[in-house]
């Protein structure tokens, strides 16, 4: 196993995101990891942005006006989708870690994916129709 430690961390990390020749379960893991990183990034940005709230009405209302465009709406849909997937998949992992439905984990994962797609589609339609 010493071969691996000689590789750079980035090379090793890249292997997490390689779904070639793998099953849908691997896709579940990849999405979980991507959404985890994405949501953490969002959390950082969110905390920074909200500091505007403390500065008073002017700055915040300007900010709200600024983000009212399709790009930000799209990003918002993305965040909700990511959050939804990460949450549902998290529930699945907690369940199987406590021994509930391990044999049906793949069916659970597919359900998670389907529900995420449906919910985010509905949410996107809702957001863009305003």
């Amino acid at each position: 196993m010493s071969d691996i430690t000689r590789e750079a961390p980035i090379t090793r990390a890249a292997k997490w995101f390689d779904p070639r020749s793998r099953t849908i379960n691997m896709v579940g893991f990849i999405l979980n990891r991507i959404t985890a990183l994405g949501l953490t990034l969002y959390l950082c940005m969110h905390l920074i942005v909200l500091s505007q709230l403390a500065q008073g009405p002017g700055a915040f209302d300007t900010f709200l006006a600024n983000i009212h465009n399709p790009i930000f709406t799209f990003l918002e849909v993305l965040v909700v989708t990511a959050g939804f997937y990460h949450g549902l998949n998290g529930i699945r992992i907690v369940l199987i870690s406590f021994g509930v439905g391990v044999r049906y984990q793949q069916a659970l994962l597919i359900s998670v994916l389907v529900i995420t797609v449906v919910v985010s589609a509905v949410f996107a339609v809702h957001m863009f129709s305003f």
Partner: protein
Amino acid sequence: MNESLYGPKTGEGAWLWFIKALTGVLVIVILFTHFIVNHFVAPNGLLTYAEVLKYYQNPIIPIMEILFVVFVVSHSLIGLRGIILDLKPSRSLLTAINWVFTAVGAVAIIYGVWLILTLVAKGASS
């Protein structure tokens, strides 16, 4: 021989994972409650600063928000540390990460709580 074979392992064991799972579930619960409460407290959304301040006057909101900040920050930092662990950091790097993450977590939580309390105070005075 692989040094990891008999190398020291941190004794964190189940608890850190358990906290991550627990905070993850609690975040979901709070988000869910958030949507329900929002539906009653602010049915038309929060579109201006004044509305946000007013929103924070309902005592459920700041309590919920503070808990949310605590859980979400813990969950994401434990998770991020887990991802770094998957890359086999050296013992010393891991120790550094533990301290940095604890500090970052504490600062983020204090900042979040301060922000929420500021909004509550501003709303009460206006």
